[in-house]
Symmetry: D2
Subunit: 384 residues, 4 copies
């Protein structure tokens, strides 16, 4: 896609930046070198840096009107994955790699920062630039920044993801639920063990667990609105030590996903009710604990329609794609729980980006970076 | 088996009697013609007839010592089955037939009555002769007679069954549980119906029923002592009317069997607990009703060992067989709940009796009737 | 909503027509009086009537350009429901009523026909007016018309539903899956019956059915993409006759819904695989038969975007609503399997239409009929 | 129970021997010190020692007639249990203890050996004295001795167990199945893992395992004759590693018990059929492996009736008890698979023996040892 709008220099530098980040990936919460790079650049651009806890960096640029403030966000952390492949700028940090594309997000937002520092006179609202730590883990870096007040004067927030699952040349989003919640759970079933030859003197927690796991299926099949999406997966079951002893307990752990807070609540509430009730029916004791992760990412309709119109006007009707929600998660959802805004996929799937996110051979297609830069700039310019 | 002990006349008449009963079968509770026959015979034999409600007949013979009283019991009812076959004395009552052998029991006890009326001087205890109505149905004829006081002065009671499932030439019993309880149940699962396309707005009673039925298996597999025997069978399930409507309710009916009162209690209690508990876990309401039938038939050890010694002494060690319990039921169990006693199988399986009880071609082997008569007489003679 | 576009006369007559149809509802396949009314009107308007089997009526109007042909469709059948309420134009046909709003659809399309007969010079494409019988039943009236060739020269087809589930004042659609498939199924589980006290000599089809039903839940919870929507509901289970007999067979009937042909295929294939496989594992024989109903209604993206732009331009951006799919079905889906097109909801939910479709108190809000008329007209005018 | 039959000296020495063995317990297969003690004693008694692999010792005593040969067996191994309590002759071998009573069995058979060496002229048959290693483990010491030919010339074999589960003062056995088989199993369910948020791309082995485990219950509840006894217990389930990954496999291990070879076969065959069939239905692969342990111990009727008559004659009718089978196992079953014989419980339950076998506080009641000695002697004397 031709993109004269963003000039050659800006693009060249963005790609150089991205490769630097790619070679120097840092794990969630440890992005100190990355932050130093960002700070240096923002300082060089004379962009004000707000006072937030590292390793996140928050820049601020006053708008020409300044009666509104929007935040643009990039996540900056890498993953504990060993990169595979032979490109010249492979990760130099063994066991750590930018296998989700956050290097591209960071470079994009730095380019946007540079553009704003030069062409700020074209932009009415104040701009908060969020270079956010720790997207990939719990506790979430977004949640932390919000608690520190990053959204205090923000009217709307926008974020992007360079997205392998969407065709290169397309940019889009949903007008509502877009990415799933991620919560983990632990179920403890307390029975009463004994010898395998005398089951009648025991409460067999393995047998009880089969009823519990079967009942979890029915939450999806019978209790969730079929229009909604949700997943409950037991990832691990631990019970017993040997052939002939019925154990005291069975422990199940797993994950649940849903696209709306209501669906998350349905899944969790039914999971507790069924586990406790079924265990009790069998004289066992069931307990469910949730390890709350990321809420579902739900775009705000007004902002998502604004973004749609930006895409249609700035890139063409053909570029816009109404996205199907995905069951992956993203901590940008925290921002959208607090303020209006929208999250946007910039498609890059194709020959140059053919492995899914988190795959050891994942790569971004750098050719879509200019569009990502342009998208943020257009949002900044058009937001009222 | 040769049997000079009981004389030719007695045997000939017993077989004639049996064929008369076979030709004139009457359903449970309607054995009036049969009773008239029995009363006439007892009166002819000058045997006292006690005053009990028809259609049962209770005879009484004073013993030489008379410090103890034993009851000998025959059941007299037939079954609502159309007999098949071509023997000359087929049932003349369409749709009703002695397909369980009670005709043989009645004839046997009449022969015993005749012997006692002649040789009473050889018998020390008083003898109560119970010709009992309604063994095959609920409410039980045995239970009814007991409530009328038939066991009041009885010290012990003995009964026999001519048994196709045991080899001809063998006579035997257990020293404990011998025949199963029979109780029926009805489970009502009250859910909340709705359209098949919107399961999340319903409580689907058919789905809940699958958990309940699965849990019933676990009562047998996990809650009953493996040494004990028990069965829970759902015979019928009724739920719903059409393709696309989730119904409000599911109704299950079935039967339970066990060999000891403790096992019966375990099955019933767990059935209630699991049904109610599981239904509640799924927001449904489960209710279990029992249609109490026949208790398990459990021989009393002292009396069963007495019978074993009678068999060994009067018929030989080879004739005695320690019986495996059977899952069929028999309302003789009511007598054994109230008084000591034992129930005995007189084997007749073989060429002349090859179809199981209740089969439309079932027949007794009349050649074992002399042994049945002799068994009762020996019990009467040897009981102290 | 003010609507000067469609003149007073047209609106008044549409409402009168609608009330006439409401008072004279006819069941699916029996819409002969309704068709007579339609034919008379079209003839009065000098609109050509194409030769299709009754009780559907197909009108044809030549466009000014005529190089393209679009079809506009109304369904005309009523439901076997007894209407409740007290409006002056209640159904006069006992047990039959327009409880889905097809009376409104028919009146709308007649008004469109009249407008076209007058203002046809404003419309470039040829217009096929489909007054379709038998939307509510299987076999589908749409399918029948297609087989008779109604779509032969049609380039695109559009249909509407006055929709209680959408707020009055909104008009909208999806850009893909919009309404569910409807297929019914019958599962026969052939076991081997016997006496309830001897389960080991049987293959208990009721028990096997519990595994089959449980496994059906897992098709939704484990085999359907969580992003997709699907339902499998067992509506009825029939097995057994009495307490103590394990029956030979269990029969389950139910319905399945999904929003895409791929999801329908997944549900059906897995249902067959699991039923047959599980039954076989238990020595039973499982057979699944599908009663194929209506395919999922999936709008074609190009035509749905065209309709979106028509709505935005003719009614305003505020009126357009991107619709969430619904699990109800609609045989308009057959047209969309054959030709490009889109189905549109005209919102009428509110005080005047507060009961859901098929409810005995369901009513349409006649105030939205002018918009429905206008929508069809604008589609006809703008289609290229 | 007074027991003048066996003289004071013999009893005193038996108790001393028993305490020696109790203080010097050895694990299965390692009974070398125990064997040295036995050999020394037999040699001192001038009893011929047959040539069998240690650590078992086989003695041989010629009978007066010698036309028949019977074997009497004691098992000699201890358990890997740390004894609790404060008796003066506690185990001196840390972590190893005679917590099943084999010390008593060994001392009993040594006393029998001494009696035979003195009073051999009262005994007609040849006597093989089997001091058997490794009863508690698989592979079984009995099986090993049989393969070495220990039963070659043996006409019948008898063994005892001092039995805590039976009242002191009672001696008894069954006339058929008496102790359960012990076989272990391993079930591997091979599914196909993936991310917890995308169950539709996996074959979830944990979910499949719930159907398999549920189906195992039905083997007991629906496929085993209710009169028979059987247990299938899953002791351990292993599947998965973390919250959000559906694993490739689930592994179940457990134990099965039954009282007859036919029941064992039913359990095993159905387990294989159901596991393989259910897994296949779900696109997984199920494999069942059995670790064959001990067959069910089934007394031979002729020999068990012989033992019953010995008990009745030598101890009194009150002492004999017809035993209910137990679900524990015993490798004496191997002998009974090869030769006629019977296994006998010598009751010792009461104040002096109140903890069950294998409990760390288990103890035998030494006062029943004289009866055990007498029982073996009477069997030897009366066998013809």
């Amino acid at each position: 896609m031709q993109n004269i709008y963003v000039d050659e220099h800006l693009i060249k530098q963005a790609i150089e930046d991205r490769r630097f980040f790619h070679q120097h990936p840092e794990l969630s919460g440890e992005e100190f070198e990355t932050c130093a790079f960002i700070r240096n650049r923002l300082e060089a651009l004379k962009i004000e840096i707000l006072d937030f806890e590292p390793p996140s960096v928050i820049g601020f640029i006053k708008g020409t009107k300044g009666n509104k403030t929007i935040a643009l966000r990039a996540d900056i952390d890498a993953l504990p994955i060993t990169e595979e492949g032979d490109k010249p700028y492979l990760s130099k940090n063994p066991g750590v790699a930018h296998m989700c594309g956050h290097d591209g997000h960071t470079a994009t937002l730095l380019a946007v920062a540079e553009w704003l520092s030069i062409k700020g006179n074209e932009v009415e609202p104040n701009i908060v630039l969020i270079f956010q730590s720790a997207e990939e883990i719990t506790p979430s870096g977004a949640d932390r920044l919000i608690k520190q007040g990053v959204l205090e004067n923000v009217d709307a927030i926008f974020g992007i993801h360079l997205w392998q699952g969407m065709e290169k040349g397309k940019i889009g989003l949903t007008h509502g639920p877009m990415m799933a919640s991620i919560d983990d759970f632990e179920i403890m079933i307390q029975g009463s063990g004994g010898h395998g030859s005398m089951p009648h003197e025991t409460v067999d927690p393995i047998y009880v667990a089969t009823h519990v796991i079967q009942s979890l299926q029915s939450i999806i099949s019978r209790k969730l609105n079929p229009i909604d999406s949700g997943v409950i997966s037991v990832g691990k079951i631990e019970a017993g030590t040997t052939y002939n002893i019925i154990p005291d307990t069975a422990k199940l752990i797993g994950t649940i996903r849903a696209l709306t807070p209501e669906a998350v609540a349905t899944l969790q509430n039914k999971m507790v009710q069924l586990t406790e009730g079924i265990c009790k029916a069998f004289d066992a004791k069931g307990q469910v604990d949730f390890i709350i992760g990321t809420p579902p990412l739900v775009n705000h309709a007004k902002e998502s329609h604004f973004v749609e119109s930006v895409i249609r006007q700035s890139f063409g009707d053909d570029v816009f794609e109404l996205v199907d929600p995905v069951m992956g998660g993203e901590d940008f959802s925290y921002y959208l729980q607090n303020k209006p805004g929208a999250f946007i996929f910039v498609g890059m799937g194709g020959e140059k980006s053919m492995y899914p996110h988190h795959h050891p051979k994942f790569d971004i297609d750098e050719e879509v970076i200019p569009d990502a830069i342009k998208l943020f700039i257009e949002i900044a310019k058009k937001y009222q």
